[in-house]
Point group: C7
């Protein structure tokens, strides 16, 4: 498989765009993707935490640990 | 065992087809498979999240982390 | 230990037979084993999902992730 | 440490004997040990599933995944 | 660090002594340590299972999987 | 990818600054980051534990295990 | 990064001092640190188990498995 076709590459392609991330604790983070690695560790700028579609907190910059991520919504 | 007979190969064979994916949080994602790797990390296009067979949200493109997947329904 | 005596070999021996699989979410899948690997990743054809011995859903072909399997009932 | 003194060796020594196995879902399996490997993956013949000391189901042959085992009672 | 100072060495030093072991399912096993390895897999002889300080069952010999152990009380 | 762009680097860049850390048990730790490694193991000085935005305990220096971290809020 | 600056080094530096350890089962152990390794496996002497700040049990020497540790409070 070419590296270009790997799922993690779809994340690298949207650095600087806004993504939404569902964590194992059922919270969703929304923010601008600023860094990511192959373990899905990543950083967001202007990060908001949502619960049941309501903004629950604003955090500025957040580093999220990849192994607790369920899914990431990425812009098309 | 030949590579062709490996379970993950059954997933690679349906890239571009619609699959359903059950996650550990009991939600099901349905969408068109666009990328996958050997860890079952994958991306869906036109992704919908279902709960108790009802569409709960539409997400566009989603990257799903393989280690939180229970099963994937694949077209025959 | 000879490869022939390994537990996973008991699974390879029943490819094409019907097996039942208990997952961590307490559901049981029953279907014809079509592929398997050493991590217990596997595919079933004609798969049914059971809950409390009742058929809850029919899925056709399913890819199940090995690390969420509790046990597999195999024909003798 | 000699291989003979390793804990897993105590399991290999009772192949063909009846063992009881506690899984993470709180169920106990009892049956005749037919295969095992160093990850505690194993197969039982004449397997019964118990819940609160009552036989809940009879399964014939079962392959159990080692990483979900809490403990194994072995004959002395 | 010398091997002698490693935590697991404290366990090897009490082989043949009585230890108590807390598992992730909140049960405690008490018995004479007969084998152990570096993953904390171990075997107990004359093993008793306790719940809320009451003996709940006697098991004879038990093999306990290290990755589900919270702690082990060892004699001084 | 250059090392400078890795997510964990964003953490190294804020050593000596105050960070907030969400753990899997839903508690948040706030304190001055004094050490970190690539597994997100880290130490805080002047650490406070918060629950529902209230300070629940003050701990001085704390070593936090990386694999139980959900996210880390970092100063911009 | 120099070895001296690694988080685990902060633990090695307080061998023989009293530490408090939070485990995944929400209990806290307090005792004198006698051994530790890079996985945070460790042994305590004069160990007490606390629940809601009350001493619940005294255990003498205890070996704690690193992978179930949330955090360790260390003296400054």
């Amino acid at each position: 498989m070419s590296t270009e076709k790997m799922p993690i590459k779809a994340l690298e392609n949207v650095v600087n765009d806004v993504v939404s991330i569902k964590l194992k604790d059922n919270r969703i983070f929304r923010g601008r993707l600023t860094r990511c690695d192959i373990y899905m560790n990543l950083t967001l700028a202007d990060a908001e935490e949502l619960e049941n579609d309501q903004v629950r907190a604003k955090y500025g910059s957040v580093l999220i640990r990849g192994n607790n991520i369920l899914w990431i919504r990425i812009p098309e």
